[in-house]
Symmetry: C2
Subunit: 217 residues, 2 copies
């Protein structure tokens, strides 16, 4: 049998149900999820009870619609101020600057840091058009200017963009009589903070070096 | 600095927000998605608009709550009877028995089959406690007994469970004057139908062999 005219059109994936197709298209927008995985996830939902799937749907929508950011450190939280900023046992004179909330969680997991955080929400990246004012850098400078902060630890990824952001913040803080340090370069060059193992990451918090010293061989 | 008492407790992942934790826990229930991927997906949703995420949530919940199965072939569909069963140009005397709707889609993609389907909803698996009556096998026998069907093609995965199911159906159909064939064993032994390439799968539909011949060397 030969392929009939128009038969090659059938090669394009057709789904037997519009509901299924919608779910697959929506799931396939998620990062790292292609059409085949989306189909598998969609069919998986059919094996669960409607309550379980409603609970999944609501959890995602609730997160998006009711998410809150701490107005001090910009970490995700449920209240106006996050539990870390509200914890009176923590050292308010010590500030750790990170790119995103995954980095806060990674550093909290080491159990080595007892100061507060400042979440930038990204790093300076001219290639992606992200400048200092698109991030929480102006607010970091404002926090530094209050005089409550003695030391700022820069814990950004050891990439070119991370280094650029470190430099920018270091120069902005010049003259404020604040010690600026960076986490020890135990984290391999080119690696992302969130994938570092806890021991290495914990050690790099303890062995932080003076910003000027960090460029010496 | 040494680890203080109770500090090892911090090693257990804590999330800064209950909403975030709920979303991660729900997402991590999906197959192939662990806590780290769930976190990445949850944080991804925060970068999209609330409308986009509501649309994702609704698509999943709608699929689960309003899914319909064709009452003839048990494929997923939006109506009472699916578009394949409703297509008057298809050969109603030819029935292709498959495990699930992914297999229907895979065979439709080959463009080589113009009969109807019968979706079993699984295969016989004593290990998982799935017997013939947990599947659409009794309904397949009923369809066969109507006298409209001349040939039944068994297109199950070439695994032990697939072979067991083939045998069971073959014996149930004995005496009904229906030709029973299996797709050509071009599909490698141990492989799943849905991952076969379209050429191999299409060829295996064309070269289907008589059920009795299929056991000859």
């Amino acid at each position: 049998m030969q392929l009939k005219k128009g038969e090659s059109d059938r090669m394009m994936q057709k789904y037997p149900s519009v509901l299924l197709e919608n779910a697959i298209n929506e799931l396939a927008k998620l990062p790292g999820i292609g059409k085949k995985t989306a189909l598998r996830l969609a069919l998986y939902t059919l094996k669960r009870t409607p309550e379980e799937i409603t609970s999944l749907g609501e959890a995602i929508v609730n997160l998006r619609n009711h998410v809150n950011y701490c107005r001090v450190c910009h970490n995700i939280c449920d209240e106006d101020i996050c539990s870390i900023c509200n914890d009176s046992s923590r050292d308010t004179a010590l500030l750790c600057v990170v790119e995103n909330i995954k980095d806060v969680m990674a550093i909290e997991n080491t159990g080595q840091f007892h100061g507060l955080y400042h979440v930038l929400g990204g790093i300076i990246s001219p290639m992606e058009g992200i400048g200092p004012n698109d991030l929480q850098i102006p607010d970091l400078i404002r926090r530094a200017q209050t005089g409550d902060v003695c030391e700022i630890i820069l814990a950004l990824s050891t990439t070119m963009e991370g280094d650029t952001t470190n430099f920018y913040i270091y120069r902005k803080l010049a003259g404020l009589n604040i010690k600026v340090s960076v986490i020890a370069r135990g984290v391999s060059i080119g690696d992302e903070i969130e994938y570092a193992d806890e021991i290495t990451l914990g050690r790099s918090i303890l062995n932080r070096t003076d910003f000027n010293d960090s460029f010496k061989q």
